[in-house]
Amino acid sequence: MKYTTFNQESNDTMTEPMFFGNPVNVARYDQQKHPIFEKLIEKQISFFWRPEEVDVSKDRMDFQKLSDAERHIFISNLKYQTLLDSIQGRSPNIAFLPIISIPELETWVETWSFFETIHSRSYTHILRNLFSNPSEIFDDIVVNEEIKKRASDISKYYDDLIFATQLWQTQGEGEHVVDGVTHSINMRQLKKLLYLCMNSVNALEAIRFYVSFACTFAFAERELMEGNSKIIRLIARDENIHLTSTQHVLNLWAKGKDDPEMAEIAAECHEEAKAIFMKAVEQEKEWAKYLFNSGSMLGLNEEILCQYVEYIANHRMAAIGMGQPFDIKSNPLPWMNNYLSSDNVQVAPQETEISSYLVGQIDSEVASDDFEAFEL
């Protein structure tokens, strides 16, 4: 079916599935098939922040004090996070928007991706402060083998869905030959690609950041790199809400609360989806190994980080009906919670680390005498 940016046929979005129904026409939110997505939009927007508001200048002195092994850990994590947010800043838009059929989900995806671009900009903010020329760091992201391995695993599911969608929207269902390769396109297959892609994104939002987060917060526990930690706390808060959205999509499908065919596919592809998650867990553990290959850091080692990944994975997997595959029952890094809770993430004007404050600026610009010219 050809994509149109404004579907002229009047359609009832209340009867549309989330994906692969009619293209959305009017961006209306007065009636919503799945109101949860608008609630997530509101919550996400209420979290708005600007990297420039967080003063990271003290981190430069701290960075000089780090050992070589610790610098490797710190910089490698930033590279990996830069990769993840590079993918997430564009892919939900490109992969999902052309096939979404309800306005509240369409707007959620746009909001979500927008926040990923804030994350990307924040890494540049952090690195610019540490290096007069950060380009070396960015350049390494596309040549570093450890990062490339993860990149291809994540982008593969997006790319497969995007390619199949493009063929379907330009040529329709059937067999199509592109560059000598035959591709068979049918709706069942498209939905399957969507299901696997959503599981891969869910695993990304669920656990792919957590080894990096743990390292960042372990530095902060030693009162090191606290500007960076402040930014990562804001990012972690956003990632939690992204995860909530993918969990909702997966559960709406699996519980038959949306497209009945997606419920069948969820049952049929359960093991394949679980394997995607388990692979992400494995890769996070390998990442921990890579980080500590030239030495450990105070308060953390590979073993405890891997336990933490398993602990987090148990909870995340259980939330989408995949059970708890790992034995670990109690949190091996309980201090992580202090950094992941919203209570501690206030971007308030009175905090010294904040160099400017968006809302404060707006308030102070309206001086009382601005109103004096008004005759009531």
Binding site: K43, H315, A318, S341
Partner: protein, 99 residues
């Protein structure tokens, strides 16, 4: 439900609920401003959480019996028989199971 009259002139009713945590202790909690999560923590029981605001789902808990009311709209996914202790309070004796 236990009610009792306080000594102060303004009479306050103290409502106490019993919280039974599967595989762990039971405890009594007063009906107050605290969330169920806080009550569970205050009784030294380890409970998983991140946001403490109802949007991450980390505290997802099974409600085996009883009723709760939400003080913040829960946004995280929960099943019909599950609750988010970080943003609710019991309104009866309850029996829960932590994951």
């Amino acid at each position: 439900m236990i009610s009792r009259r306080s000594n102060s002139k303004v009479s306050e009713k103290l409502v106490i609920y019993r919280v039974r945590v599967e595989g762990s202790d039971s405890f009594q909690c007063a009906k107050d401003d605290k969330t169920l999560l806080k009550h569970i923590e205050d009784h030294g029981i380890e409970v998983h959480y991140h946001c403490r605001e109802g949007y991450c789902g980390a505290c997802r808990t099974k409600l085996i019996q009883g009723e709760v009311e939400y003080i913040t709209d829960p946004l995280a996914f929960i099943d019909d028989d599950e609750i988010l202790p970080c943003c609710c309070k019991p309104t009866s004796d309850i029996h829960i199971k932590l994951y």
